[in-house]
């Protein structure tokens, strides 16, 4: 316990000193807490400042953010528009001769579109493909193994139901 080690120089009256003595005694009596106070405070501290559990969900990567997706969509639409415009213009200015060139340009644009799509939405795309594969596998299992080998029977005709 750290006790104050200074004094009030204005107190020169012994009767005031006596009152201060009584106040000190009263103050000390207020510290008479139930046993184990310190232990309970430490337990509360331990509980409060314990390290948080590892986060199960992490923040999405930057390339999956909404802003980047929107920007990619704009680029995609712009590319399509430009492709169509170039193709139409080429067809009108040089009919026949530039058809192959225009088609090649369209192919390039489409390839570019797929590349951008993969870049910007690879995660969601992968998730969709994975879900699709899972669904196809389930259908295969049901088709080849019949109802009893499928998970559906477990749900509907579980233990004790039949």
């Amino acid at each position: 316990m750290t006790a104050p080690n200074d004094r009030n120089p204005e107190i020169t009256d012994r009767s005031l000193e006596a009152i201060a003595h009584r106040l000190d005694a009263l103050g000390l009596s207020e510290q008479d807490a139930p046993d184990g106070l310190e232990d309970r405070v430490l337990a509360a501290l331990t509980e409060a400042v314990a390290p948080a559990p590892i986060a199960l969900r992490t923040e999405a990567p930057w390339w999956r953010s909404g802003a980047v997706r929107m920007a990619a969509s704009v680029v995609l639409l712009g590319s399509v528009g430009a492709t169509v415009y170039v193709a139409q213009r080429g067809a009108s200015t040089n009919p026949g001769g530039s058809t192959l060139t225009a088609v090649a340009a369209v192919e390039d644009r489409i390839e570019g579109m797929f590349a951008i799509s993969e870049l910007t939405d690879a995660g969601a795309f992968d998730d969709s493909i994975a879900s699709l594969d899972l669904w196809v596998d389930t259908l295969d299992a049901e088709a080849t193994g019949g109802w009893q080998s499928s998970g559906l029977t477990d749900d509907w005709f579980g233990e004790g139901a039949l």
């Binding site: 104050p4 004094r7 201060a20 003595h21 807490a33 501290l45």
Partner: protein, 231 residues
């Protein structure tokens, strides 16, 4: 104790007087205070770094003083303990989050947090008392423990006298005699000059003396009557 050549030899009760007539503080006391401050700063730094031992040290130094401050105001031991726990949790949270900016003023910060928590609790209890039953707040108080050296009547009289003080005077009395803070830290906590705090403490003691005197006079007058020396 006045004239004590060794300040370190004084008992805590003597140190806690705050009433000595010696205006100066001896160099020995100064160096002792400095070393205590340095030691405390070290403990606080280690606690903020997560040292369990440092936290044990802080809790053992201050838990009962924080509890006393809360219990003196609320007169509810279980609530005082709850507040004590929450005060230390607040300290830990602030220290760990680097939000602690009271370097060298740990005690004022600690007791400011305590006073704020107690004030919040009193407000909350008053709101509930008004909302439900006006008499319920008064009925919250449990029987206080009697201090050593003071009988029940004397301590009750002293508590009643303290209750007559205004908030500013009472804060100084509580922080000094219940929180056992030194005047410098009280001044820092209240954000007032040291001289103002000393003057307020002096004035509060005089008010307490005045409030207690009628009781003393009454007992002085009653005693002769019981002995039959007065008609």
């Amino acid at each position: 104790m006045r004239g004590d050549p060794d300040p370190a030899a004084r008992s805590p009760a003597d140190d806690g007087l705050g009433s000595g007539s010696s205006p100066g503080v001896s160099p020995g006391s100064l160096s002792e205070a400095d070393s205590e401050a340095a030691d405390l700063a070290d403990v606080v730094a280690r606690a903020s770094g997560g040292s369990e031992r440092a936290w044990e040290d802080l809790v053992h130094r201050y838990a009962r003083r924080v509890y006393a401050m809360a219990n003196a105001k609320l007169r509810r031991p279980e609530l005082a303990e709850e507040i004590t726990q929450s005060v230390f949790v607040t300290l830990a949270t602030k220290l760990r989050s680097d939000a602690y900016s009271e370097m060298g003023r740990f005690e004022p910060w600690l007791f400011r947090v305590t006073m704020n928590r107690v004030r919040d609790e009193i407000r909350r209890a008053k709101r509930q008392a008004v909302a439900h039953d006006p008499s319920s707040f008064a009925g919250m108080a449990s029987a206080p423990a009697e201090p050593a050296g003071l009988d029940a009547n004397a301590s009750a009289g002293l508590r009643d006298a303290i209750a007559t003080l205004n908030d500013a005077d009472r804060a100084v009395i509580d922080l000094r005699h219940t929180g056992q803070m030194n005047f410098k830290d009280i001044a820092a906590l209240l954000d007032e000059p040291l001289g103002t705090v000393l003057a307020r403490h002096h004035r509060a003691l005089k008010k307490l003396k005045a409030a207690l005197e009628p009781t003393t006079d009454a007992s002085d007058q009653t005693e002769p009557d019981e002995k039959g020396t007065r008609s």
